[in-house]
């Protein structure tokens, strides 16, 4: 007989049918009620054991974490919390789980403990919900771009170029680590390395994505990127996933339209398709908040926060206007900001971004036209020669979630920018070629995928939204 999933059975209208199911025991109480889960939904199905007619030896092996195979009759449930349950007629133990040693007991574990047991943590409600949402968000992203005529592009992970400038890089090598070959002048001879030159892990696929936008029109990347920075915070990973769309003939206004439509669409997708996991995580967040001091509690429920983004127009404000607002704001005047805003040119911190979104505008905000010297070399210089056509999208609770720009499409201006930053033209000859041959206005943005998953799930530590986090001193599993 076909093995059903818990999800299928719980949404089953017809009862009094024979069913078969395989899954893992979450709890077993009163020698009678098994809560069984198979990952297909956050909900368990209740399996009622006829303990008087079941072998004692089998009953003892129905422990939390054990894999079992149940045959039985699907019936309407008398208990509360579920519509249907299974009256088990046969129970087979597929794999035992020793209750003395099994780490995932039916009690609250700390997130730190579960990180150390990351190979088992999706056996909890919290992590299974987070990872199902992560998967749903991934699909929503691919679906959005596919529906809108974008091509998915796999940009290279190993790069011979170190000109991207977005951060510290990891070296990729097969040289003898202890005795690398040396050149005559005594430096490491990377011409003998695997790729014939020094190679690193990519920090961004944008520059390569631009090459494809300038031929295929609309493209996006969705792949891993790396930062070798020694940041041990709840917001940084050494390995994380990024989404980077890039579109030819699109200016910064078009970029804002795209980003707003994209973010709303992706959030709408999970609001429609992942109600149960969201409801669980919303409740979890509310529960967590109770033990926090008032100031650290979330002002909105999880769903309200998603609705806040989906239902509001994003307010578009220039950096210059934003600085004025912040300079004259109460927290600035009363010195409540950790970093006070004194003058134009300051880099905004999360506290400022959140103030704009949560207190001042009360809607998602897109800041644009940032000072050139706090942004990357490839952003298009405005006529004022002081600002660039950059944009950051700010969300409640987290501040910046998306960063993008119109790219500098003028060969001479780009060369000047690179020269000023000592980026050698030979390193990016191919990037410059795009401005030599059929150049055009084009734009794009980057979204750190884990930041999005944190926003949607309400998890406070980025290590808890990726299966196996890589951070300084940690590459376990």
């Amino acid at each position: 007989m076909k093995i059903s999933t818990v999800s299928e059975l719980l949404s089953q209208d017809i009862t009094l049918i024979d069913v078969e199911i395989k899954g893992w025991v979450r709890t077993f109480r009163a020698n009678r009620f098994i809560a069984l889960n198979d990952g297909s939904t956050i909900n368990n199905i209740q399996c009622v054991v006829d303990f008087e007619n079941t072998d004692e030896a089998i009953l003892k092996r129905i422990t939390t974490g054990a894999a079992i195979h149940i045959k039985g009759l699907l019936v309407e449930s008398q208990g509360k919390g579920q519509n249907v349950e299974i009256q088990a007629t046969s129970i087979e133990i597929l794999g035992d789980s020793d209750p003395e040693t099994y780490p995932i007991q039916p009690k609250k574990h700390s997130l730190e403990f579960l990180r150390e047991n990351a190979h088992l943590r999706t056996r909890t409600n919290t992590f299974s919900a987070v990872m199902r949402l992560r998967s749903a968000l991934s699909f929503a992203i691919h679906k959005y771009f596919n529906d809108n005529g974008f091509y998915y592009m796999h940009t290279p992970i190993i790069t011979g170029s170190d000109a991207e400038g977005a951060g510290e890089m990891f070296r990729v090598s097969t040289l003898d680590a202890k005795n690398p070959p040396l050149t005559e002048d005594g430096s490491v001879d990377f011409t003998k390395d695997f790729f014939g030159k020094e190679a690193n892990l990519t920090v961004s696929g944008q520059l390569e994505a631009e090459t494809y936008a300038m031929s295929l029109g609309k493209v996006y990347t969705f792949g891993p990127t790396f930062r070798a920075e020694n940041s041990n915070t709840s917001r940084h990973l050494s390995e994380f996933w990024m989404i980077e769309p890039e579109v030819a003939f699109m200016d910064l206004d078009g970029n804002m339209d795209l980003a707003e439509d994209f973010m709303k669409s992706v959030l709408n997708y999970v609001l429609e398709n992942n109600k149960e996991d969201l409801a669980f995580l919303e409740q979890r967040q509310a529960q967590e908040d109770k033990s926090k001091p008032q100031a650290e509690r979330n002002e909105m429920t999880l769903t309200d926060k998603l609705r806040f983004v989906v239902d509001n127009n994003f307010k578009r404000v220039s950096y210059t206007e934003a600085i004025d607002i912040l300079r004259n704001s109460k927290p600035n005047k009363k010195k409540k900001f950790q970093y006070l805003i004194n003058e134009w040119g300051a880099d905004l911190q999360s506290e400022h971004e959140r103030f704009l979104v949560e207190k001042h505008f009360k809607c998602p905000v897109i800041l644009f036209d940032y000072p050139a010297n706090i942004k990357a070399f490839y952003m298009r210089l405005n006529e004022d020669e002081k600002t660039v056509r950059a944009m950051d999208i700010l969300f409640p609770g987290i501040g910046e979630i998306v960063g993008g720009s119109q790219r500098e499409e003028r060969l001479e201006v780009l060369k000047e920018k690179m020269a000023a930053l000592d980026i050698p033209e030979e390193e990016l000859w191919w990037y410059l070629d795009l401005r030599k041959y059929g150049t055009a206005v084009h734009s794009g943005f980057g979204l750190g995928f884990e930041r999005l998953v944190m926003f949607v799930t309400g998890m406070g530590n980025i290590r808890d939204v990726i299966p196996y986090p890589r951070t300084p001193q940690n590459a376990e599993f």
Copy 2:
């Protein structure tokens, strides 16, 4: 006015409307006919220039590769090859393309030359078709798994484990390459490296995918994997993308069902959604074949080859049966095989796989139950203790395209296998935990994405189906 795409205009039924379009000039002939492409389709739209009323200076700048902006009237075309064309009323040059230096001229370029200009090669019909198909195949894969209740999982790229055993690995490090810190005994002190231990790029996400299958039920990976092997062939990359589904409670038969259904579904998707690109590549292959010796020509057209997979049941044959067939085959007896099959235990080569598919069975073939000693440690041992529950799927033209297995779910058997291969248990403690706590039958397979793209596009060199190939001595762009 809205900027239309070429794809939109070519499928437009209504004519005599004002339209606006931006794209790149493919050709400009007779000072009159611009073939314009914007990447949205392989087809160009013809724009007819009123050259008598157009500035001579502008006409001169309409060169291959130039980016232009055209306004005009969409009309029925008198010429053959297209239904509609644009009578241009305004032509703006957005970005020039110097015909003296632009590498991508309207003539046939060698694939080698285009590889050196990989940043511009999607401006050709061949590469734009290949990369659109690559994108469509990616989406088809995500859609298939999403539709079938699988969760997408991002397995780690940087791994601290070197026990996967699938191949040579790249080291990831931030240590000083020239003067690495040493331990007292004089070896490199990796505890001082970024991750506190030696770290490498992953060769497979399977082991981590198993951890999620054993909680979420059905999962898959789709991410980059790496091999530091010095293989300079048309079938090997140092960096490539893999798809690895993994399913709890599924045995090898279920694995075969899944793989067959999956491959058919993905190929059906592009047969339905990418007709024009496939038709172009089919024609290209036929053209290429003309200049090849008879023996190297394709026996089937591109579409026939895809239909061969979609329309036939995959024949399931044990390794032992296959060896018998091969041993008694004509090419073996007449010593036509490069590697003769003499006895049970031999590893099959592509020539043998293709013989089985193309000559003997005339349908895709799934071989199963391979000798244990030519397969990986994690495959489930059969009762005969000689073979494992492995499977390879063989396709026409390329041989093996999918490799999978039922995994060894028995703790003691797995430990013995690891001990025999000197894989330390401490390295894979978490993998062993899956067998300690709620173990169950589970299976999965791996598909090298670029092999699939080669199969679908008919491209003969794997360097031509990924945007920026990484191979020994090459990490350009």
